[in-house]
Symmetry: C2
Subunit: 339 residues, 2 copies
Amino acid sequence: MTNKINLSLDQIYDLSFKILFKYGVSEPHASAIAKVILAGERDECISHGVYRLGVLVHTINQGHVSKTAEPKMTIDDTSIVKVDAQYAFSPLAFEKGVEELARKTKQVGIAALQINHCYHFSALWPEVEIIAAHGLVGIAMTPSHAWVTPAGGNYPVLGTNPLAFSWPREHAVNPYVFDFATSAIARGDLELHDRTNTELPDNVAIDRDGNITKNAKAVIDGGSMLTFGGYKGSALSTMIELMSGALLEDLTSQESLDLDAGKKSFPCHGELLFAFDPSKFGLGNIAKTTASAERLFKSITDQGARLPSQRRFAARKRSQENGVFISKHIYSEIQKLLE
Amino acid sequence: MTNKINLSLDQIYDLSFKILFKYGVSEPHASAIAKVILAGERDECISHGVYRLGVLVHTINQGHVSKTAEPKMTIDDTSIVKVDAQYAFSPLAFEKGVEELARKTKQVGIAALQINHCYHFSALWPEVEIIAAHGLVGIAMTPSHAWVTPAGGNYPVLGTNPLAFSWPREHAVNPYVFDFATSAIARGDLELHDRTNTELPDNVAIDRDGNITKNAKAVIDGGSMLTFGGYKGSALSTMIELMSGALLEDLTSQESLDLDAGKKSFPCHGELLFAFDPSKFGLGNIAKTTASAERLFKSITDQGARLPSQRRFAARKRSQENGVFISKHIYSEIQKLLE
């Protein structure tokens, strides 16, 4: 570990906060974003950890994102909590809306959180985990940038459009959580293959002529990623564009990419979350619901199959005990942001 | 077409109704089921058409399904409409609940329909299309029978767990609709490969030892289907077990298969549907939502990619003009049910 530096989780938070604050991000925003970076680093989702601070600063330097705008929440007699992020980063808008989402959900069993006009910075799993911590089932989805072609097509119009789900587990520390891109490969993985000049897996992307390619550069240079699972993944990805783009009167992945105009900032669009109260569904015996879910999980793990996020939860445990280990290269890049 | 017989859509309905009624199914149930069979035959989804009457009669003859129980609806101050099918077939329970689902959704923007204790008979697309006909976005999901192994496992605990989605389109006759099994191959297709002794596609199923196989018989005889899209499809399928099984305090696919105990009846479990009112989401300009969705659809079809269900809609148009063409073999099998 000589090329690594050991930091506590508090140090990760402080470092992230300090950099954001230095670049003019207001205290509430810097705090909300630093918590998300902390979660990413803690769970060893490196691409969502301190590594992202460089892209954050790049986005800030483009001058389009608001560093200080307060999210504006609208509550009415519907079950939809609406938060306008006013072109600031997303985490504070989520923080502001999630309590009200939980409150509404516990009243009527099901509610939605609609976030508009945010520069989206966060994996979706930290958010659905917070919904699970309220004892609720959570779903989250967002468009992204149009890098993915629909099944049967040959140029990109869909985003990597992640979908996340959480199910609270009473007798376990961690909820059942998944969070996956509906693209056949994550954008970050594609970029890593480009940087390291390594071959892509089979059938994840096409070049500008619509032919399957293993060359990451050919994908980035006018080609397109494919959806996971063929036409089914393509249908799901289209659903995510409709639900978290069109339905919210916010940008689709294509419109977000057009707005970015090559600046490689974070995408600017909306996000849609749902919460469900298990105690309102069912037939009045929540213990039966819990037992049924636990039997299902056991029937999966008993045969050696993994539940999603187990690798992340193992990393979390390690990090909570020993802190995290950052590559010295990344750490020195981050230090430069403070100069 | 000499081996086919031409019937009008009314004749399909009448034939289905007559057979169900003969086997003791009450008039409201027979009518609701006959409408679903009509929709299947009309859209050339043969496996959901009159072909199914044989399996229906088989299920009825097992004696477990109620032929007459009235669905019991519970409405309270939550946004969850609950219909207990009381161990009858599902279509009447859906019919009974969907109006109330639409009413609640138009009040608060989002609502759920929980159906319990039904022998599930219906594809999900006719149901989400009815939600779309109310001007609402629809989602539907059910467990089935445990025929599918989770990613990384080697025996079945998940069902084929279909997921359906509909988006209403103002200026088009048909909504945007998808309805797919989360298994890598449909159960009906697997059975067809078995009957015709043809090879399965690559990577859709394993034999009893957990090895990938193209032999349909080896799958049915102690093997298992895989999920579509690897671990992502497996996560989705697990979500469907949780949401439309555990959450409803109804049977998971494993429990439904155990209950069936080899009788090969329709699965007995619950179903979960959601509806969303586009006029309550967004920012008050529904025309913007509609235009955004239509631009997305155009960006898909402009590149030669198909929207889901287009084949079905083309068949529907043909059937509405010319009626349907049933194979004489199937027709004579059905006629035997009337003897």
